[in-house]
């Protein structure tokens, strides 16, 4: 393969995530991550040619388009900088945008950075209602919670699962997160604890749903020359793919649809492209770690099935048998605890990518899974309108 086509992760940083961060402003948070990733890569600001800013809706924090607020804090003045926004998929899209800027040969290295302040407003549910159509949908109590409630009832009906089956996903995620120093929610909980948590929108209870997290994250990607100079053991970005689908939920669930909402068709379409680029033909054999974007329990089985780790409708059965456990499982699914435990929306997809890349680099610390050669990360945005996935490998794979 051409050296110019190799893109590698050279450094990463993420803060601890929590509901509020009263000690910093948004721009200061972004700066902590930018400086942290540069330090991790052993770089100075001059080693970075361009910046991709990972920033989802800014209603939550009440400062419109806060990428502008951050330019000086992240050493951006004088450099090309672009903001990426695909809702919850933003962080994954930002990594892929940076990948493309390096792969195209335009830049030697790109800093991906972002921060999130979701809890700055107590009116987050009202903000989320605004993402729905003003004439036909906004009169209903639609939010991400309630629309995933709609999705989950359909998935459970199609494959015959119970709320307890879903609850095990949250139990595993919280247990895995005990090894993650950055995680927002962590701890040993039981299926009974999940079942006893407050009902939000049937069948989703509070523990089936991610928290609102504040914090920041950053990643430096570069070409092979930069990798040789700055990183002895980089993670190579070997596969990138994304898909979008119609805004209309009701267009994705009828017999004539071509975008089945329940079975998350776009995830499967993106994964097949991504795997082909990365040379993954048998994910269960070749991928040791997944870091799925899973802000709701149902998102984990859906992605395991659509990304080829098991047959449609079987992931929750295998969950019960421990297939997705960090220790003793067939593949370590979200060793970080994933988005169920930590959801700083604007950078959640970036954190998924960082957690996958650092596993490949052998730098995942207390979360490290042994002998990781390939790891996959993903991100989901809108009401599952945006999907992207990325494969990180310990060796470059040409495509």
């Amino acid at each position: 393969m051409s050296m110019n086509h190799t893109v590698a992760v050279l450094g990463t940083y993420q803060t601890e995530f929590k509901t509020h961060d009263p000690d910093h402003t948004f721009a200061e948070q972004a700066q902590i991550a930018a400086a942290g990733a540069l330090k991790d890569a052993g770089m100075t600001p001059g080693d970075v040619d361009a910046i991709v800013f990972s920033l989802a809706p800014t209603y939550f924090m009440g400062v419109a388009d806060a990428d502008r607020w951050s330019i000086d804090h992240i050493f951006g003045a004088g450099k090309p900088m672009l903001r990426v926004h695909t809702g919850g998929a933003t962080g994954g899209s930002a990594v892929q945008a940076a990948y493309n800027l390096v792969r195209s040969g335009l830049h030697r290295s790109v800093l991906v950075v972002g921060a999130e302040r979701i809890a700055e407003t107590p009116d987050a549910q009202d903000v989320l209602n605004l993402i729905f159509d003003v004439f036909y949908e906004r009169d209903m109590p639609l939010s991400t919670n309630t629309s995933v409630g709609l999705w989950t009832t359909s998935y459970m009906a199609r494959y015959g699962y119970t709320e307890e089956d879903l609850a095990r996903v949250a139990v595993r995620a919280r247990r895995h997160a005990t090894k993650n120093p950055h995680a927002h929610l962590k701890g040993l909980i039981t299926v009974e604890d999940v079942m006893a948590s407050r009902m939000i929108s049937t069948p989703l209870k509070l523990f089936d749903i991610c928290p609102r997290s504040s914090g920041s994250a950053a990643m430096v990607v570069g070409n092979m020359d930069m990798a040789k100079q700055f990183c002895s053991r980089p993670a190579f970005i070997n596969g990138v793919a994304s898909r979008t689908t119609t805004y209309w939920i009701g267009d994705r669930m009828t017999p004539t649809t071509d975008a089945d909402f329940t079975d998350f068709v776009i995830a499967g379409e993106a994964a097949s492209v991504c795997y082909k680029q990365a040379g993954i033909t048998d994910p269960l054999e070749q991928v040791q770690v997944t870091e799925f974007y899973d802000p709701y329990t149902v998102m984990t089985p859906l992605q395991l099935e659509r990304l080829g780790f098991c047959a449609p409708g079987t992931a929750l059965r295998l969950e019960k048998e421990g297939y997705w456990d960090m220790e003793g499982g067939a593949v370590a699914v979200n060793p970080s605890g994933g988005t169920l435990c930590t959801n700083p929306i604007a950078v959640s997809g970036l954190v998924r990518a960082i957690d996958a890349a650092t596993q490949v680099m052998g730098r995942a610390g207390t979360m490290q899974v042994p002998n990781v050669h390939n790891a996959v990360s993903s991100a989901v945005g809108g009401i599952a309108q945006f999907y992207n996935c990325t494969v990180f490998g310990d060796q470059p794979h040409g495509h």
């Binding site: 009263p22 209602n129 036909y136 009169d139 109590p141 359909s154 009701g250 009828t254």
Partner: protein, 156 residues
């Protein structure tokens, strides 16, 4: 507004009020006028053969303008449903049931409230509105040209 807490680690409170005038357009306008007359109007595309509800000006499959209007039947099948237990301000008081329903003869599903449901037992209520169950359209007594002029009720 409360007194400003300017200590390190404090917060500054602001309330932002914004107003909007949303342009309804031709298609949504015709749909809303239809609701006032007790009709649910969908658009159709002769090239793809698909009918859209909510109505669309443009067919996303054939990439041609939708060139017809049809009236949806007042009965259909639930494709997805949930009971919203934790509500939020400005909407109906929870718990409320909502569902996306494919009305007979229409290719897409449209969402609305499901009324007339006993919500004292959530499991039982959720089974009543499970995907696959049939519902009927029920118009309210007063119609003002908004989506909540009608709702769904269980058909059996």
């Amino acid at each position: 507004m409360s007194e400003r807490n300017t200590e390190p680690g404090g917060v500054i409170n602001e309330v932002v009020t914004l107003r909007y005038d949303y342009s309804l357009g031709e298609v949504a306008g015709k749909f809303m006028e239809g609701l006032k007359q007790g009709k649910i109007l969908a658009t159709s595309c002769s090239k793809s053969g698909l009918t859209y509800l909510p109505p669309r000006a443009y067919c996303e499959r054939s990439f041609e303008p939708c060139d017809g209007w049809v009236e949806a039947a007042f009965e259909g099948v639930i494709e997805a449903s949930t009971i919203v237990v934790r509500g939020f301000q400005g909407k109906r008081n929870p718990p409320v049931a909502i569902a996306y329903v494919k009305l007979d003869g229409i290719d897409s599903a449209i969402g609305n409230y499901v009324d007339g449901l006993d919500l004292s037992n959530l499991d039982a209520a959720q089974k009543r509105i499970a995907p696959g169950k049939r519902v009927k359209v029920k118009f309210g007594a007063t119609r003002e040209g908004r989506i909540t002029d009608f709702s769904f009720v269980c058909a059996d």
